[in-house]
Amino acid sequence: MITVSDLRKVYRQGNNEVVALAGVSLEVPTGKIHGIVGHSGAGKSTLVRCLTLLDQPTSGTVAVNGKELTNVSASELRDARRRIGMVFQHANLFDSRTTEENVGYPLELTGTPKNEIKTKVAQLLELVGLDKFAKAYPSQLSGGQRQRVGIARALATDPDVLLCDEPTSALDPKTTDEILELVKELRGRLNITVLIITHEMHVVKQACDSVSLLEGGKIVEHGDIASVISNAKGRLAQTLMPLPGDAPRSAGSGTILDLLYTGDQATEPVISSLSRQFNIDVNVLAGSVEQLSDQQYAHLRIQLPAGINEQEIINHLQSNGIAVTVKGTK
């Protein structure tokens, strides 16, 4: 479990104060994958650097399994850092070391005996599927393989938390999915807490149980995937389940509604039952239906016929647990 409370970071730039983090609090329970999304400049990089204490936060605390990382001595901090395994965007492997030497590096630091390192490294490489590449140098590996080495290295000290900073941003879509699958699989096998910082919504959809939206150094929205998607007014719902880019805003006459719904409702024939029950024709203008972490999610834009009691229909939909936004009438 990782607990962050009221983390602030203020940089001085000449006479100006730049607030990079304006009080970030979050908690990720053991065994969960949490995504932190945000545009560049939202404070993601600062957050990562403060979480690992590469930068000293101005105030606030970071704790792993209740053990604080902030306000400790340099040697305690080094020990605490071993409780967090970190995966970087560009893997940041050491080019002068082979795969196995890279993975063994964190163990060398603590003076682990050579044969113990050897056994542990072999296990880790098997875990990430790179046992055949033990003697290869990073330059001989593909981007995806390098990231796997990075993950194995991050896991070498049996950390409680895996912190991934844009882990797939430098990878192609297929490799991205492979890496995310690996992270999910590792979470299952090691019961490790995972924090993924990313700008890619795809990553959140693929891998995360819960998500926070970082903006202007603050978390402006957060929750598990199902709850943020069903919050139709939230920005995460719109970005996680967007309508196709050219979704028409109007067609003919009649009220246009955006519907967002999850789970059980998504598998129900919502539209056709609406038609039958109210004896109306419903026009579907645009929509997307997706399966994310074993849940169905749907985002539809529909148009009701003109001249009917639309409030009744809206009430009916809402009573069925569907989030409705009125987009306007034509």
């Binding site: 590469l54 071993r82 050491f94 630091l109 603590t110 330059s139």
Partner: protein, 222 residues
Amino acid sequence: MFDFLTPTVQKAMLTATWETLEMTLISGVVTAVVGLVLGILLHVTGKDGLAPIRWLNVVLSGVIVNITRSIPFAILMVALIPFAALIVGTSLGPVAASVSLTLGTIPFFARLVETALRDVSSGKVDAALVMGSTKMQVIRKVMVPEAMPGIVAAITTTVVTLIGYSAMAGLVGGGGLGRMAYNYGYTRYNPEIMILTIIIMVIMVQLVQMIGDAIARKVDHR
């Protein structure tokens, strides 16, 4: 054609070659060791370094390195003769010349090391720190090994420079091929000997460069 190679000249040529090698070797080894430490200090105490110490960086970089490097080597060498005499007890011979050679090339080599270290991406240093490395471990286990191809190239460049400088050192009492070329080739007007010393030095430089490049290739896994 090889008439000029009388037994006396042959013997002198061998001695001179050895003296040049001796000067290059002594000053090369000392420069590599001391210069590496100085280069690391220049880098880590710098503004964005691992352990920024402003005053130390100003002293090392601004005062020691820059001042030494701005004095022409010929002048520095002469100026350091009393110092060499103090350290090795004589101001003559290749060992005495090595003192000035070493002091003259350390700042040059240190700058090259600093540049090589700067090329190690900050991401690697961050990764090492996040994994719980001490600063010393970051330097020894990450920064220096990662910069090794650059450091080897810097050593090669420095040794080549030393071969050239050692000829200059020969003129002020150091001996070696520079002295040989001057005494036999110039003052006694014996162009064959002049040319021969040049050929020997060219071969030396070529060998050093070849060996240096081969080692650099071997340690470069980028």
